[in-house]
Symmetry: C2
DNA sequence: TATTGATATGCAATAAGTTGCATATTACTG
DNA sequence: CAGTAATATGCAACTTATTGCATATCAATA
């Protein structure tokens, strides 16, 4: 399992509650890892039982207590062991491609619309990433060195989004020719 | 679930046994969908129960019987319904990026080696895809029209692999500078 | 002739992920 | 003052996927 390792990674950077982690998945790891709050809370419970993380209750007036999780030595070790050992190649599951593969069954106009939407989503994502990149490039040398590795994951996002858009344009181009031809 | 739809898609192109489907996942959909044989056989069973597919036993001398599955009308309809309706965005899970994110904990040489291996795998994959592309471009106009949509999925593969390689080069470049610097 | 690899199928246990529901507070908006 | 969104947590049921095991034949190889 790797949600475990994703959580260890986030906690290694900074302690936090389940909710914090959820936000950080959305904001920082969102491009390459997703997890629902249910999954995160369940995983934290398991990891706490397994002594990979500690939990401090922070009482808050009126609000329910926060559970702030921190790495234990054992958790830190598990993380660095995981980072050392090679990964097996991850499995891909892209339903959109299955759909395109079976695209002759689809209404071309509808497919075109979906592709336009797909392209635009990815364009928006790219803009977001580019803004973060800009911020990084304008930060201090020290900060840049600190964030060098996370920055490389951002680069993956940027390069990946550009690829998505490039491909989407090809598909859109093809579908537009098709639908234009059909209306002649 | 979408393994169901991936299987429907494959069977729509051509009837086949579970084993055939496994091979076709590996050879054709491999870039964007993976499934183990256990998953496929179990899914076929479920789909057969649900009357999305039919099953003809083909007796073979000595060898165990083949179960050749074909789409039913109901299966064909389920597929075209699925193709019509818009998808929700798929979730990404890329453990390598989690690892890079936590890369400051890793041995840089080891990480470098893993990235070199990653790049080379993707280079090989790209070569394979380019060869298939070449084959397509040298086939008849008729064939090209028939395979237009699957060809677009191949294009996704090609563009995606190029992006992987480009990113890998960036990471490798960074890691090489780091390890060189450390040895000075 | 023994072993390996490809063909061909499947069950059972476990792990991982999704969906739906549930609660409780605070802060903002209409 | 009612409704919505954000904060903060979790259970239970269900679906989906992985891992390990199991069987049986045929063809080629060592």
């Amino acid at each position: 399992m790797s949600l475990k390792h994703a959580i260890l990674t986030l906690l290694e950077t900074e302690d936090g509650t389940g909710y914090d982690l959820l936000k950080r998945f959305e904001d920082h790891l969102g491009y390459f890892w997703n997890a629902s709050h249910q999954q995160i809370y369940a995983q934290l419970k398991t990891m706490h039982k397994g002594a990979l993380i500690d939990c401090q209750l922070e009482a808050q007036d009126d609000k329910p207590d926060k559970k702030i999780y921190t790495l234990t030595d054992s958790g830190r070790q598990a993380l660095s062991e995981w980072v050392q050992q090679p990964l097996k190649l991850g499995k891909v599951k892209d339903a959109l491609l299955v759909k395109i593969y079976a695209g002759h069954l689809a209404n071309k106009e509808q497919l075109l619309e979906e592709m336009l939407h797909y392209r635009d989503s990815h364009k928006r994502m790219l803009q977001t990433f580019l803004a973060i990149e800009d911020e990084y490039r304008n930060s201090s040398k020290k900060k840049q060195q600190e964030l060098a590795m996370p920055f490389l994951t951002l680069r993956r996002g940027i390069i990946g989004e550009k690829a998505c858009i490039e491909w989407a344009e090809e598909v859109i181009n093809y579908l537009q020719k098709q639908t234009a031809g059909a209306n002649k």
